[in-house]
Symmetry: C2
Subunit: 385 residues, 2 copies
């Protein structure tokens, strides 16, 4: 159930002393298979970290042999020196594995602005050490090494007919559209060319990671990469493969949501009756990003008024006085007026389902988010100190 | 220094038992002057409360005689019954003052969804009682009666040459663009027709209340209304009047910022070097709305990396690698790379100045906001319980 589940992959995780805790902080995933097909999606933030700028070039040709990842520093806004650090990290892996540096994806996570000579030395030596520790059971070590404020490693696998796709993920805050502080490595032994990997990956991320909006903030470093070893010798259909990758990404996205910084509720916002899927997503996001609603949820207050106040700021097609709002299946607002009493809603479970019927069309979408809590404020005000 | 500073106005504030604390909760401001010219701006939220829908019609003809305001219930999403409550409130004031109900602006603030028969009875009898308490020194009572989570009343006055303009405001959370949970009544004895009041008011709010973005949330009830009695007999020039109204609104906006729910920092975000004022505002707002940045500020952490991550999500014209960021005049980031050490910034004062130079043009704008604190989470998670 990891990044080494599919045939042809090895992984490792080592201590490079980037984290002050002495925990593992450099991970490596290597594709030893007959194929080196790869696809990736990156943050849509225009402020991109050096590893993102590098890795976009690496996967441009649809080929990659390895992914090296570090926690303990984002290597973002660290100047030309920082980009050279990313290059040096890729070179170190390339030399150790006897592959081209141009086939080594680099991912970093941690504080922005951290990337001095000490950082470089640690990352590069960590990358070399990780290359010496590779093994077919190394998935958990790798998933552990990429954790930042995550409380546990995230892994998943989906089995196909004679092939599989597995993966690991990290990301605890800044889970926002277009991906955010999220590093995900997916591996498969399905034998598919890069363009089919790319198509399946984009379809999957659009419906999963892109709809996970924990705090509305978008990272500079997000990367989701999919490598194929081709070692199963099986080429599933596009539908079959995309379905599996989507299921895998959905599993990992739920794990990320469940471990979001300081959260006390995992909220599933389901918007139905929209005129288009895009508008349903827009409306869902407006709830996820309402600090007033998200603090109310933390206080176990099914505050449907804040739902309506939030959606009124969108451009989506609906009449605010024709909207129904339910919390955990209790309809509190019907056609913009109070319906069942709020005391009927049990807000104590961690899982919360907010259902919004816009009565404007037939489209729908679901957005996942978390509440805004004291612990969120604490973790994020103390993060860099 | 209040809503009764200008000649021709009376005001009052009474206890109508809408607030469980027994504090004043219904206010009335009446224009006794020879002119009844009026202008107003309202929330841009599409989810508008009943008093907003009513009051937009009242001021459509540029005339108003009175403004009645209640705290203790927003009368929003309360169905047809709620709209009838607003109408009944205006009728009660009209009858007591012998004016037309169509010249009575109604403003409400408090919880959405509250508006039953008890609420109506209290608001209507409160409005009648307020009409019986009107006097020329009643400004402070009125400013006190509109408070919700405000810790103190907000009033200001600006003196012109032979005329003046004064006002009161409430609003502690949900201060967001397009106005938010903000009720403001401005009064002047300058003798100007409604269209000139309107022009000055829109100019002033665009530069003041519209650039106050405390938590990114936008209310359903925001109203800023300006009444002229004409009693000074003086007609200032457009420039002179707009300058005074802008200064008045800026004063009230700073008072609102200084009393924002749970805030520990008053943040002035100054964006320079933008290609247009609109883009400068867009960039400034992206910082104001970054929970990660606003929690960092709460933790006295001058986290310039989160500034860059936030602005990278905008569509404004600039190169993220050509941006300078200063906190309290210490340049921490120059051209997208670390500059002075963060330890040089003293974050302990309540006032914080974040300066962002986009190096893309000559336009600039300032946005005011507050940090995201434990007290914000506490107040907003407990607000309705």
């Amino acid at each position: 159930m990891s990044v080494t589940a599919a045939k042809g992959f090895e992984a490792s995780g080592v201590v490079a002393h980037l984290k002050s805790t002495g925990a593992k902080d450099v991970a490596l995933v290597v594709n030893r298979g007959r194929s080196a097909a790869a696809a990736a999606v990156f943050t849509s933030n225009r402020a991109k970290a050096n590893p993102v700028i590098w890795s976009q070039q690496v996967v441009a040709d649809g080929q990659a042999r390895a992914v090296v990842l570090n926690s303990g520093g984002a290597n973002c806004f660290t100047g030309a020196f920082g980009f050279q650090t990313t290059h040096a990290t890729a070179e170190a892996v390339a030399e150790a594995l006897d592959v081209s540096a141009g086939d080594v994806v680099v991912c970093s996570t941690g504080l922005i602005g951290v990337g001095d000579q000490t950082f470089r030395d640690k990352v590069v030596s960590g990358a070399r050490a990780a290359a010496g520790e590779l093994h077919a059971e190394g998935g958990l070590d790798a998933a552990t090494a990429i954790m930042t404020t995550d409380t546990h490693p995230k892994q998943a696998v989906v089995e196909g007919a004679g092939w599989s796709v597995g993966g690991m993920a990290k990301g605890a805050g800044m889970l926002a559209p277009g991906l955010a502080t999220m590093l995900v490595v997916l591996t498969t032994d399905a034998d598919l060319p890069a363009e089919r990997l790319d198509s399946a990956l984009r379809q999957a991320t659009r419906l999963t990671f892109d709809r996970l909006d924990s705090d509305g903030c978008m990272s500079t470093n997000d990367t989701v990469v999919l490598l194929s070893s081709g070692e199963s010798g099986v080429a599933p259909s596009d539908d079959e493969f995309a379905t599996a990758v989507t299921a895998l990404c959905a599993d990992l996205a739920r794990q990320l949501q469940g471990d979001a910084e300081g959260a006390s509720h995992d909220i599933r916002i389901e918007v139905v009756g929209a005129v288009s899927e895009d508008e349903a997503v827009e409306v869902g996001r407006s709830l996820a990003r309402s600090n007033l609603l998200m603090t109310a949820v933390f206080g176990n207050d099914p505050n449907w008024g804040r739902v309506l106040a939030a959606i009124g700021t969108t451009q989506a097609t609906f009449d605010p006085y024709d909207v129904d709002v339910s919390f955990n299946d209790v309809r509190l607002c019907a056609k913009g007026a109070p319906d069942r009493p709020v005391t009927e809603v049990d807000m104590t479970p961690r899982a919360l389902h907010i259902l919004l019927d816009l009565h404007a069309g037939d489209a729908e979408a679901t957005v996942l988010t978390n509440d805004l809590t004291h612990d969120y404020v604490h973790e994020n005000s103390a993060y860099s100190s």
